[in-house]
Structure formats: structure tokens, C-alpha cells
Amino acid sequence: MTYLHNIGVYFLMIKEMFRKPTKWSVMKTLIFKDIDDLIMGSLGIVAFISFFVGGVVTIQTALNISNPLIPKYLVGFATRQSVILEFAPTFISIIMAGKVGSFITSSIGTMRVTEQIDALEVMGINTINYLVFPKFVAMMLYPFVISIAMFLGILGGMAACIYGGFSTLEDYIMGVQMDFIPFHITYAFIKTFVFAFLLATIPSYYGYYMKGGALEVGKASTTSFVWTSVMIILLNYILTQMLLSS
């Protein structure tokens, strides 16, 4: 019953997010601040992880191809497919659930604990619109982060491949270009938009509705990370089944 109640409250929060909008001049500032905090602030860690994980995917693939009959360009092909289909949209989203999700939960949760949300409510402000909507809008730029992750993952794979001596640059590039299906990009970005929505709303829900003090803020951040990750994995499976298995 508690789970059903929480799901109901979550959907009511989403409905409330679009009601009674905050004055645009104030909302604009909040959106730019959240773009800076959530999107720009994540670029460094996303770039670092993408580059090196792309490299690792390439090395693992190359080392597992021992049969001389298998062409070397397959390394580039496997790296591209892994990075575009799964690594960039899903793996990076799990990392973002930790980085961005815990930031959102703890910042809103701290506002709840220190009565800042009550102060906004007393002023007659729709606090859910004020706090959650800018994060939702900022996260709509998340596909931009994932595009960078895709590019750097393939670039990291290329660097590892060449400097590790697993294949030539030409073979790698040929592999990356081979049998390219444009719908895979569409599929990856559909997933990315869905995950962006989850990354903005689930942590906000746990921050907004938390009760207690500083200890509970920490617990809410952990719970939010767990449930955001669970929902990302679950929806990843459902979307893959719906979009690719036809």
C-alpha cells in the first residue's frame, strides 16, 4: 500500500509541477542556474568516464577476438554499438543518478528541513513548480551530455585501439562506420529523454516529501539514487523491448 501511495503522490507532484507557474523573470534565473548545476557541472565527470570506458570496451573487445578470421574492424564496430546503444544513455544515466540525483534530493531536502519550502508556501508560491520545473527543463538538455558521452566514448576507444596496437586507425574508423543504422541514434535519444525525466523528478520527489533532519536528508539521497537507478534499468529494458525487438 505504501508503494501505491508513493506512486500516486509522485504523479500528483508531476501534475502540480505544471500548475500555477512561477513568474517568468524568476523562473528564467532558476532554469539557468539549474542548467549550470545539473548539465554544465556534469560535463567533466561524464567526459572523463566516457573516454576511459570507451577505451576499456575497445581493449576488452580486441582481447577477446583471438580468431584470425575475424576482421580487425570489428573492434570499432563493437565499440560504436556498445557506446551508442547502452553505455552512453544507460550507464551514464546511472552515474548521473548518483551525481545529479543526490544533488537534487539533498538540496531540496535541506530546503525542507530548514523551513525554506514553508517560507515559499507562506508567500503563496507553488513550491513544486518553483523547485522541480526548472530542474525538469534543465534536464531536457541532457541529450546534449549524452551526445558528448557518445563522441568521447568512441574517441577513447580509438585512442586505446591505436596506442594499444589492437588495430589500425583505418580499420577502427571502418568499423565505426560499418552497418550504421540511424534508428539506433533515435532509440538512444528516446531513452535519454525518458531517463532525463526520471533524473529530474524522482530525486525531486524524495527531497520534497522527506521528513526529519539532516540524517534523513542523507537517507533520502540514498533512497532516491536506488529508485532512480531501478527505474532507469527497468525502463531501459521495456524501451529496448518495444523499440528494437520488432
Binding site: K20, T22, K23, S25, V26, K33, T110, M111, T114, E115, Q116, D118, A119, E121, V122, M123, G124, I125
Partner: protein, 255 residues
């Protein structure tokens, strides 16, 4: 003026407010006092419209809150100022931005007009040099003064304060009390303060409402509280030996 008639509020099985009726006049500082758990905070949140009473009415200058539309309620809330126990300043903003916030949200003033008003209000609470500080860089007393400045910047009709003196040293507490009383009289605001602080009760309690177990157990002022025979009030207000002696001296002096 705020009029409260037979207000009841429960949370599940717990009946917190049991039929409170009273009124709070314009231009006067009214204090709601009582032991922890007596229902003060719930009562204040009912007055603020954060909780809806199950029974009874709360009227603001003759208009019952429950009869107002959502837009009218929002307009009414824009006329309220609130000073929270922990100040509730926005961490991400400077002191000046905190004070300017209600103006940005609810007025169409130009930036220079807003800046002028912020300067005026911060000067009024003796914080003219603190514009660019963050709340975390301010002392407890300064934070309370910023909270008062934010509460009055949009010229509210009603000012609510939840234990404005908690955590402050006695000298700063008196400064805050006097500031609230001066502002109340200066701007002709209806001010309601939740307090545990007996100095506040004696100094600025132009009207005092004593709550006990969700009931209004006594009502009076800082003049009449010395003379009351109400056992619940005397047990609460004069619980310390010092206040017992003060009361005795006051009565003897009067006689």
C-alpha cells in the same frame, strides 16, 4: 484584524486544536504562549493557511479564509509576512537577494525601485552593510533581522513570527522584540508571535493568548498577566523563582 472562531484541527486520532476563539487587532503585538505540544505551531499554521481547520472560521479583515477562491488565497498570502524559528533564509541568495525575493515574485517594480526598497528595509533593521553577505556568513541575530526585513519588505498587513527569539542571547532577543513591536506600530500591522520567551511576554505582549492542551486557557495582556489567578498561566509563566519574585514585587508595588 484577524478573528478566529471555534477552530478545531486534528491529525488522525490526535485532536490538536479544540475550539479556539480569539481575535488579533491591527497595530498590536499579540503573543501566543503555551507549553511545547499545546498546539501553538499548529494554530499559527492554521492562521497562515498552511493547515485547514476541520471546523471553525478564520477571518482576515472580515473575509473568511475558507470562502476565498484559490487566487484570492494567493493574494492574501502575498499580504502575509512570516519570520520562521530558524529564519528560513534562502542559502543560495545573498542577504539583499533574500529581502528582494518577495518583491521580485509579487510586484512589477523596476530593479532600481526594488533596490531602493531593499536598502530602506535593511537600514530599518540596522543591516545596511550586509547586502552582499550570504546567510551562512551572518550571525543568528542578523539572520533574524534579515528574516524580519524579508517579511516586511512587501508591506504586509499581517506579520507572523514563530519563536523569533529562540537561540538568541538575551540582549539580541530584546533588540528583536523591540524591532518587531516598532514595526508593528509604525506600519499598523497585525502581528502574531509564538513564543516561549517570558521577557517577550512581559515586554511586548499587548495581547497574550495562553494555550493549554489545544484549548485557549487564558487571554489578557502583559499588564493583566501579573494579576491573573489562572493556575495554568501562573504555573507556566511564573515557573522560575525569579519570575515568582518579580510578580510578588509587582503586586506589592501596586498595592
Amino acid at each position: 484584524m484577524i478573528e478566529v472562531k471555534d477552530v478545531h484541527k486534528s491529525f488522525g486520532e490526535a485532536h490538536i486544536l479544540k475550539g479556539i476563539s480569539t481575535s488579533f487587532e491591527k497595530g498590536k503585538t499579540s503573543l501566543v504562549i503555551g507549553q511545547s505540544g499545546s498546539g501553538k505551531t499548529v494554530f499559527l499554521k492554521c492562521l497562515l493557511g498552511l493547515f485547514s481547520p476541520e471546523k471553525g472560521t478564520i477571518s482576515y479583515d472580515g473575509k473568511a479564509y475558507s470562502d476565498l477562491s484559490d487566487d484570492q488565497k494567493r493574494d492574501l498570502r502575498a499580504e502575509m509576512g512570516m519570520v520562521f524559528q530558524g529564519s528560513a533564509l534562502f542559502d543560495s541568495m545573498t542577504i539583499a537577494e533574500n529581502v528582494m525575493f518577495p518583491l521580485r515574485m509579487f510586484t512589477k517594480q523596476s530593479k532600481s525601485e526594488m533596490q531602493d526598497r531593499v536598502n530602506f528595509v535593511l537600514k530599518r533593521v540596522n543591516l545596511e552593510d550586509a547586502h552582499n553577505k550570504k546567510p551562512s556568513e551572518a550571525s543568528g541575530g542578523m539572520q533574524k533581522r534579515v528574516a524580519i526585513a524579508r517579511a516586511i519588505v512587501n508591506r504586509p498587513k499581517y506579520l507572523f513570527c514563530d519563536e523569533p527569539n529562540s537561540g538568541l542571547d538575551p540582549k539580541t532577543a530584546i533588540v528583536i522584540d523591540n524591532l518587531i513591536q516598532e514595526i508593528t506600530e509604525e506600519y499598523n500591522i497585525t502581528t502574531i508571535i509564538n513564543s516561549h520567551d517570558m521577557n517577550s511576554v512581559m515586554e511586548i505582549g499587548q495581547k497574550i493568548v495562553f494555550l493549554k492542551d489545544g484549548h485557549k486557557a487564558w487571554e489578557g495582556s502583559n499588564k493583566t498577566i501579573f494579576k491573573t489567578d489562572n493556575e495554568a498561566v501562573t504555573n507556566f509563566v511564573y515557573s522560575s523563582e525569579l519570575f515568582k519574585k518579580v510578580r510578588q514585587m509587582y503586586i506589592e508595588e501596586r498595592e
